[in-house]
Symmetry: C2
Subunit: 390 residues, 2 copies
Amino acid sequence: MDVQPPQVLKTPLQVPRKTLMGPGPSNCSPRVMNAIGQPILGHMHPEIFKIMDDIKEGIRYVFQTANPLTLVVSTSGHGGMEAVLCNLLEPGDTALIAINGIWGQRAVSMATRYGARVVTLETEVGNNFTLAQIENAVHKHKPTLLFVTQGESSSGVYQNVEGIGDICHRYGCLLAVDTVASLGGVPLFVDRWGIDAVYTGSQKVLGAPAGLAPISFSPRAQERIFARKTPVKVLYWDMTVLGDYWDCFGRSRVYHHTIASQLLYGLREGLALVVEEGLENVIQRHQDCAQRFYQGLDKLGLQLFVEDEYKRLPTVTSITVPDWVDWRDVVAYAMKNHFVEISGGLGPTVNRVFRVGLMGYNATQDNVDLVLRVLGEALHYAQGVQRSKL
Amino acid sequence: MDVQPPQVLKTPLQVPRKTLMGPGPSNCSPRVMNAIGQPILGHMHPEIFKIMDDIKEGIRYVFQTANPLTLVVSTSGHGGMEAVLCNLLEPGDTALIAINGIWGQRAVSMATRYGARVVTLETEVGNNFTLAQIENAVHKHKPTLLFVTQGESSSGVYQNVEGIGDICHRYGCLLAVDTVASLGGVPLFVDRWGIDAVYTGSQKVLGAPAGLAPISFSPRAQERIFARKTPVKVLYWDMTVLGDYWDCFGRSRVYHHTIASQLLYGLREGLALVVEEGLENVIQRHQDCAQRFYQGLDKLGLQLFVEDEYKRLPTVTSITVPDWVDWRDVVAYAMKNHFVEISGGLGPTVNRVFRVGLMGYNATQDNVDLVLRVLGEALHYAQGVQRSKL
């Protein structure tokens, strides 16, 4: 052998148990964790097809859609975004992308790579868009696709989506919506609101491990995909073939890739828990937790980064870092002393905010109280660190 | 709600326990199964970075390479192929693809989508390529990239790779090798043999669940990627940014996507088991199992699809379907009565072969004997079915 066996792999894996109160992943329920340890199944076994069918039903429920082309992409949430864009864009298309944080920026990078002409609608970080702003931009640019983010997790901003579909369709434009951080924390009606493409991640409100991206396309979007002049660039995400593996077109199942059975088990059980609780109740629970959290933050003398309550995302709360602490001290203290994850900012909000996620299995009043207690303690500690530097 | 909660998700998950003796996925060891149930970690936690570093060392060992750009792509093996091609090809490049089964066919589809001019070197299914054939094709087409499959799992064919790197480099061509089905069953020396890009899957000899693709690029390939005139089409697989998340360039870690911690745990422990046993011993074990299996098949009066022993892949054995049975009866009998998976063909070998995988945790003499016993019984049954139709 030219390369010797590495010493680092001669000790067994060790993983600490943390309370993940950042913007995702969140902890999973015992039922989900138990599911992912179930025996492995092959990618063409009837039992896995049944599980995939169950998952499709669950996704249609949480997305509130009857779309036949509803399935799961074997990638992270990032891959869900990329799968939507590579299926709906071809060279020469115009993509209008609403940017108020990191996800819009990413969508620009992806859409450009797939050869689209990209135009943007931008607002400052911490803000969202009005229907009038969106209509003006669609009217001006005549895009083939509009991309908006319902939950901008980098800033904790919620974007109202109701009404955007009607605007888009008046101009012959498709509407794509990122719901990675928002799904299950706020209402979403894919069919009623005329959304043409939507995706989310498995590791947030759905309470499953990371690694899968539920996705759905309207019949209008499906038609666009099948009428493409050029093939979808990425075979891994090409809905015209992946849709057959997921039995979305009523044709026969065709092998596409070796799916991760363990992740499917987790997602299936995460969806089953949402069904058991009821989607409305899940949403209400997240909103109740957010309210309790806002009240606690107020008592701690902290300011919310998003001032207008109707612009706030209940699942991910952004908190302005007070000028009397270094945010790194706060985050490090919480992790070191309590194994509680509180996150800093991301992209445009780095150094400016803390981000706390209250999602899925972790969205409980006990966890709200826990994170408030830890945050208060950590701020006190961090203030001391700053004072000692003076 | 417009869409009601689906009934199918009101019952809990049920998963049967099977012995997966097809061409992958294989069963995982108890150590690996235990690992994937460990607590979830965030994608930017120090502990996950340590696990990723351990995995990089393990991958360098199994690939026998010192390549700095060695990491894991969060996709199935299919995604590994696509990640290699989208990083190394740009519009106008010429890709030479060796086709002797389904994987070469797939590579053609992908390379075409990424804008390359694709030329092929083809041989009949069940055969492989000589160095002379390869040199002639490289000389003729002057490609920028040659793609070969070391283990063609659709036909059970092994391709010698030693010597191909030298040929490629004489003509200024990079060499990409698919080792999804072969790694750990036959020797592979990425550096010694001058391989520029290589990938495998987690779910075969490495004995981890499906969903991850270990990948490595030579310094020569890395240079090519950084010198591209156009961005890599797929941001999810763009090595210039994903390489930073995996700390391959000695710069700081940058968030790229939310990695599936559970799958990393499984792969880390799968690699640790290879380290514990020793790579040479792992390879020997697979070759011993294959020999025992060939002898048993001979006793059953079955013909191997690949006649020349030096062209056979020890990890996946293809067996000619005798004309006195319907292969579906055999496969169904084994599953129904013994929960043992024996596969049919794939792509060009459909209806022509059975495929039996002896990989990773499943590559034991006991499993060889089990699959032989079940196969014999199933053939007897299927022969009866055929007779009853006469």
